[in-house]
């Protein structure tokens, strides 16, 4: 009997795989990504590659952690599509619990509605009107007053200027040249090939009536006052640096970069007057 026992002890083999204290077999070089060899071995796939019978990823699987192999299996899937549930899909509560029902006491629930809205709308009309006039009055207070506007204009009696003469008047502190041009001067100004000039501008653009040339008497170079009926082109000549202007006030020669500026002006036909400004 004793010998039998000894024989039985001797056949107990040592384990071929080391086991961790948690009971998980220790397999450090296990490759979990390996796949079975691709041959048609009768479990339902023909193409080599991804097996069709592999469980999807969300269902879990084997992973290797620091404490050994861990196999997880999930039995429910996280939702992949969402349905919006709006709060008003619930049934509206028609009656509040605590508030008594007064409908029997009301004669006509709509009777005052139009009047109430009318009063609200009238209030809106008056407020909007008040706001609009507040803003517009404030903006008007920043506008130039009538005396300033009156000073900003100059009226010239054109009947006193004979043909072929220059008149220099003062407007906003600057000289203004007014030339009553003769017919030959008009033709000269219009026949010039203005497209080749430094500041190309036709005579028609510069004058409102061909016999009256109105322009600021400030040289566009450095601001001297040019001399009338002088220069190479029969117009104006600036003595400071020698700019020549023609009979339409266009820069023709010298350092002036631009034509003499034409101020805003209007003709009063009835009184033969010119209003500058």
């Amino acid at each position: 009997m004793a010998t039998f026992q000894a024989v039985k002890k001797a056949v107990t083999l040592t384990p071929s795989v080391r086991t961790l204290p948690s009971g998980v077999p220790y397999a450090p070089l296990l490759n979990l990504a390996v796949r079975a060899p691709h041959d048609t071995h009768s479990h339902g796939h023909s193409e080599p590659g991804v097996r069709s019978d592999v469980a999807p990823r969300w269902a879990g699987g084997v992973s290797r952690t620091s404490s050994g192999l861990v196999s997880k299996t999930f039995t429910s899937v996280s939702p992949s599509n969402y349905q919006q549930r709006l709060i008003h899909t619930s049934v509206a509560v028609k009656d509040a619990h605590q508030v008594p029902d007064y409908s029997a006491y009301r004669t006509n629930p709509d009777s005052n509605r139009a009047l109430s809205y009318f009063m609200v709308g009238s209030m809106g009309v008056i407020s909007a009107s008040a706001a609009k006039s507040t803003v517009s009055e404030f903006l008007q207070s920043m506008a130039a007053s009538a005396d300033v506007l009156a000073l900003a204009k100059v009226e010239v009696d054109l009947s006193t200027i004979p043909e072929g003469k220059n008149v220099i008047i003062k407007w906003r502190g600057k000289p203004v040249f007014i030339r009553h041009r003769t017919q030959s001067e008009i033709e000269e100004a219009r026949s010039a090939n203005w497209k080749t000039f430094r500041d190309p501008q036709s005579d028609e653009e510069r004058v409102k009536k061909p016999e009256w040339l109105v322009m600021l008497g400030v040289c566009t170079h450095l601001g001297c006052v040019p001399i009338g009926e002088a220069g190479d082109y029969g117009g104006w000549f600036c003595p400071c640096h020698g700019s020549h202007y023609d009979i339409s006030g266009r820069a023709r020669k010298g350092p002036a970069p631009l034509n003499l500026e034409v101020p805003q002006h209007e003709f009063n036909e009835a009184d033969a007057k010119l209003v500058i400004g």
Binding site: F118, G121, A128, S129
Partner: protein, 61 residues
């Protein structure tokens, strides 16, 4: 339909129409108010303003 219900349905039911009516009404009201006040001012000060007595002092030449 009563006139108040018509008024409600035409102007007050939609907020866009309501607000539009308010703004249009403000525009018209502003013009009317200005005209009315100016008229009242002129009639109250009749004979005192320059435009009333101008003919006494300015002789057209």
């Amino acid at each position: 339909m009563s006139p108040s219900a018509t008024l409600y349905n035409v102007f007050f039911k939609r907020n866009s129409v309501f607000v539009g009516t308010v703004f249009a009404g403000a525009f018209v009201f502003g013009i009317g108010f200005d005209l009315g006040v100016t008229k009242f001012y002129d009639s109250w000060n009749k004979g005192k303003q320059w435009k009333d007595i101008r003919s006494r002092y300015v002789t057209e030449d």
